[in-house]
């Protein structure tokens, strides 16, 4: 129950990050989702990523839409302001918030119904506008709160729990994000935290729209044979193209890699993305190649995961708009109001 506070008992030897925070400081209220829900694993991954990155919890704004996934921001980062907005409209509210204060980290959490059905328009436009944010879709292919209807990401031919076959063509949000200009695009699986946590960390340190589609099985309505979003199906068909390690400027790099297996990308803030290639010769700086690869593998029934595309030199909305460095919400009256003299001059020009 979310109104129950989580017990704050803390072991004296709990690990602390360089800010002195423990993981507990990044947690939120107790989840009300079903036991085993993939979304809870994603919340845990967000907690771990923020802890690892030494992010001050109150410098994060977490926003969501409506649905099971959109409830989750209540379950992590309890010291952050959160906004559970309307169905499918989180991207616009997040965009406005990001305009008001460019210094916070913006984390948008949404679901496949929220982003691919009712909110596909706002999803698309936030990507193409270059909003500096991490946008996570917790993708389970069904509407959970209304008891298991297909969403727009459900694969054609997949079966609902009641045995109904989905005839509609699925929307691949990763493909859309790539096409629409997101500058950090990844897919992961809630059951693979080793892969997911670094992807969230890389996204949080990325400048520009970072999108992560996390396949997150719904244990109650979409985890049966015939589903293509079940734990078993995703494990069997997961085609991971790379493994990511996020190295902060302060970190010492002491891992060694075999020649030709590593790709090193430096982001604008100095963080380094180490991408270990897996079985393919995948190039994450090639947007068109990424789109092609995705289509080819999807046709074979594979689910491509990993960091699929990154442009570390990307700009963001504030740079496009050329807004002042100081957050707009901190500009005082004197910076905003032109005063009576300017008005007198203006009046004179209107006669």
């Amino acid at each position: 129950m979310t109104y129950l506070a989580k017990p704050k008992l803390l072991r004296a030897d709990a690990p602390r990050n360089t800010l002195g925070y423990t993981r507990r400081d990044y947690e939120g209220a107790i989840s009300t989702l079903c036991a085993g829900c993939g979304h809870d694993s994603i919340s845990a991954a967000v907690v771990q990523a923020c802890f690892d990155l030494d992010i001050e919890p109150h410098k994060v704004a977490k926003l969501s839409g409506i649905g099971c996934s959109s409830k989750t921001p209540d379950y992590f980062l309890g010291a952050s302001h959160g906004f559970n907005t309307t169905h499918g409209r989180m991207p616009s509210v997040l965009t406005g918030a990001a305009l008001a204060n460019r210094d916070l980290t913006y984390l948008g959490v949404s679901g496949d119904g929220d982003s691919a059905s009712i909110g596909i328009g706002q999803f698309a436009h936030a990507m193409r506008r270059g909003v500096n944010m991490t946008y996570i879709v917790e993708n389970n292919g069904v509407y959970g709160l209304t008891k298991g209807q297909f969403s727009a990401t459900a694969d054609k031919g997949s079966k609902s729990k009641r045995g109904v076959v989905n005839n509609d063509t699925p929307i691949d949000l990763v493909a859309l994000a790539l096409q629409l200009g997101a500058s950090y695009v990844a897919r992961s699986f809630s059951g693979d935290k080793e892969q997911l946590i670094p992807l969230i960390k890389g996204a949080l340190r990325h400048r520009g729209p970072a999108f992560i589609d996390v396949v997150s099985p719904c244990v109650t309505f979409n985890n049966h044979p015939g589903s293509t979003k079940s734990y078993d199906y995703v494990r069997e068909h997961n085609d991971a193209v790379n493994r990511l390690d996020v190295i902060l400027p302060r970190d010492q790099i002491n891992t060694t890699y075999a020649p030709g297996t590593l790709r090193r990308i430096v982001q604008h803030d100095g963080s380094i993305l180490h991408l270990r290639k897996l079985d393919t010769d995948y190039d994450p700086s090639d947007r068109v190649g990424a789109m092609n690869y995705l289509q080819e593998r999807h046709a074979l029934g594979e689910i491509v995961t990993g960091l699929l595309y990154v442009d570390s030199s990307a700009e963001d909305l504030h740079r496009y708009l050329n807004t002042v460095e100081k957050p707009l919400n901190q500009l005082g009256d004197a910076y905003l109001c032109p005063g009576s003299k300017a008005l007198d001059a203006l009046n004179a020009s209107l006669r």
Binding site: T2, Y3, E56, P57, H58, K59, A61, L63, P73, D74, A79, S80, H81, G82, F83, N84, T85, T86, R89, P91, S92, V93, T95, G96, A97, A98, L99, A100, N101, D103, L104, G121, Q122, A124, H125, R129, L317, H318, L321, N322, T323, V324, E325, L328, N329, Q330, L331, D333, Y335, L336, C337, P338, G339, S340, A342, L343, L346, N347, L350, R351
Partner: protein, 616 residues
């Protein structure tokens, strides 16, 4: 010539220009209006235009009124007929004894004119073709040429128009010479060939004073700059688009950092109205002053978000430049028909703050004040203007600003306050006015964070479906809207010259027509106290005004009497005492209409005006 005597009038008449849209006539017509104002005579111009870019008929109606009546008068004393498509209806519209000015290049049969008007022809096309070779020049200078001819016909000082052109094209000397030349060609031709001046003429006066000439949309944009807005999100829609264009241009002028050229503002053209208002709410939740500008269809689309902002208690400012509805309705015609859809916008029990500016001056002042109110009340505030004020230049008092004024950011709890141990409950009424305190994201490392949502919650912003929590919150919201009654701009009472049992309530762009109607009625011995409503929820004085009169006319520009509905609902007054005076054909309401309806109603109700009672 006619038997009807030509109209003789100095500084009190209506000129109408019939043009083809996209022909460049708008700036020439505006130049002419400004010339008359430079003569010290008030002018109220109105664009009557189609929802189209090029080729459709458009009219520019200009009321010249030394007395300063700025409402639409109706009728036309001088028609400048430059559009063959609309010739017949334009000719028919001229008042008996009126005047027709036209391009006489192509001869017209007598049957196409009227016997009871004075016809003034000038071969404009022929003159232009002789003077200019370029097609675009021929078109543009034809407009200036007719301005020159009208200058002569109405007895306007040539030097006044000449100076206006010089002011307008300052720094582009080539254009000044060319325009003045065209102006002079028209002026000289009219002087030599037509009976200048005609019965309608402009005499120097001092009726304009220090008034300024600007449209309401520009004034709203300026009000948003002065009101401290830093984020604007919008979607193009007639007739509100120029609010944002003005905000953008004033921001470039006043909000560009002199050191680095960067902007102290952000403007985003969103993908639709839903995203526009979403961005506004996100920015305001995060502590920026933010607004959008829209019209009726946008208001419909934004409904769900208005409910969220109301219930989650997030400030927002919405400029609604109303047009004819329902649906796409009359996009380029004026109406006051969004009151109900704004006052109770969104599902569930809601109520919103509305402001009704009467002219560009109030678009500026109420526009700026809207941001203080939204922050103070933590709720959406709607500035309801309409196309008539929004898109037409209007003479109004000059803008003013008190430099000692500080923005009222409302109840924002700071890190210091949180550290001093203040009890923070996001939805807790600690001050007894229904308004809770809020924190801005990023304020404090450990205190004051909360989760905003559209779902129900307790006073500490924790999710709750408990009936007691819900009722506490709803009653507090009601209380907050009660508090709003005292904060919105007070109504303005104009008592009749004698004690009377009759009143009239009006708002927004009806203002100049109502003032003039009162004078017309007084002249007939009908006395009506008037009250101009400027805000909703209604101040107590408004309900008292109704209770103090036997009958109150509610004058508005929509079909269903939306303000009347609000008054009935909110004031719990007897419906029989509120008499509808409704004008809704898309044109601005006139004094003649209001005075006529009120006089008719009083005679139909067999109500004896007080003057007669006193006399008997």
């Amino acid at each position: 010539m006619s038997q009807v005597k030509p109209i003789e009038s100095s500084n009190d008449f209506v000129i109408k220009f019939a043009n083809v849209n996209g022909s460049g006539s708008a700036s020439a017509n505006e130049l002419f209006a400004r010339a008359i104002m430079r003569m010290g005579v008030p002018v109220a111009p109105r664009n009557i235009f189609p929802s189209n870019i090029q080729g459709m008929p458009t009219w520019y109606e200009m009321r010249v009124s030394e007395a300063g009546w700025l409402g639409r008068r109706g009728g036309c004393d001088l028609m400048v007929a430059m559009n063959p498509q609309t010739w017949d209806r334009d000719i028919a519209e001229i008042e008996p004894g009126g005047y027709l000015f036209y391009d006489s290049t192509k001869s017209q049969p007598r049957s196409r004119f009227r016997e009871d008007i004075t016809v003034l022809g000038i071969p404009l096309t022929e003159m232009c073709n002789r003077e200019y070779t370029d097609a675009r020049q021929r078109q543009l200078f034809k407009n200036i040429m007719y301005v020159g001819a009208l200058t002569a016909l109405l007895g306007i000082d040539f030097s006044v128009v000449e100076k206006l052109i010089a002011d307008q094209y300052r720094g582009k000397d080539k254009l000044i010479g060319a325009n003045v030349n065209a102006l002079k060609l028209g002026f000289d031709h009219a002087t030599a060939n037509l009976p200048c001046p005609i019965g309608l003429h402009v005499k120097r006066s001092d009726g304009v004073g220090d008034k300024i000439f600007i449209n309401g949309n520009d004034a709203c944009g300026l009000g948003a700059v002065y009101g401290g807005a830093t984020v604007a999100a919008w979607y193009p829609i007639t007739p509100s688009t120029s609010v944002i264009e003005a905000f953008s241009s004033y921001c470039r002028k006043y909000r560009t950092d002199p050191d680095n050229g960067m902007g102290r503002y952000a403007i985003v053209q969103a993908e639709d109205e839903l995203a526009s208002i979403g961005m506004v709410i996100g920015a305001a939740w995060n502590g920026s002053r933010a607004f959008t500008a829209t019209s009726g269809p946008g208001i419909s689309l934004m409904q769900e978000f208005f409910g969220l902002a109301y219930f989650a208690e997030v400030p927002a400012v919405i400029f609604d430049v109303q047009r004819g509805g329902p649906s796409t309705g009359m996009p380029t015609r004026t109406q006051q028909s969004d009151l109900i859809s704004c006052a109770y916008a969104s599902h569930g029990d809601t109520k919103h703050v509305l402001l009704f500016p009467e002219d560009p001056y109030e678009c500026f002042t109420l526009g700026a004040q809207a941001f203080d109110l939204a922050d103070r009340l933590q709720t959406p505030v709607f500035v309801l203007l309409d196309l008539d004020i929004g898109m037409n230049d209007r003479l109004c008092q000059p803008f003013d600003w008190d430099d000692s004024r500080r923005y009222d950011r409302g109840k924002i709890m700071t890190a210091e306050m949180l550290d001093s141990g203040k009890n923070f409950g996001r939805y807790l009424d600690v001050d007894g006015d229904g308004i809770p305190w809020r924190t801005i994201p990023g304020t404090h490392p450990t205190k004051g964070a909360f989760f905003s949502r559209g779902t129900t919650r307790n006073a500490y912003a924790k999710y709750s479906e408990a009936g007691t929590d819900y009722i506490y919150n709803m009653e507090r919201l009601r209380h907050k809207l009660e508090t709003a009654k005292k904060l919105v701009p007070a109504p303005i009472l104009q008592p009749a010259s004698q004690a009377t049992r009759f009143g009239a309530i009006y708002y927004g762009s009806t203002s100049p027509a109502m003032a003039e109607a009162s004078t017309l009625l007084e002249a007939q011995g009908i006395h009506v106290d008037t009250l101009r409503v400027r805000g909703f929820p209604f101040a107590d004085e408004i309900i008292d005004f109704i209770n103090d009169h036997d009958h109150v006319f509610v004058v508005e520009q929509n079909e269903s009497g939306q303000l009347r509905m609000l008054l009935l609902n909110e004031g719990e007054v007897d419906p029989k005492r509120l008499i509808r005076v409704l004008h809704y054909d898309g044109t601005p309401i006139t004094a003649r209409f209001i005075a006529g309806r009120i006089a008719d109603a009083l005679s139909q109700h067999k109500v004896t005006p007080i003057r007669k009672q006193v006399a008997s």
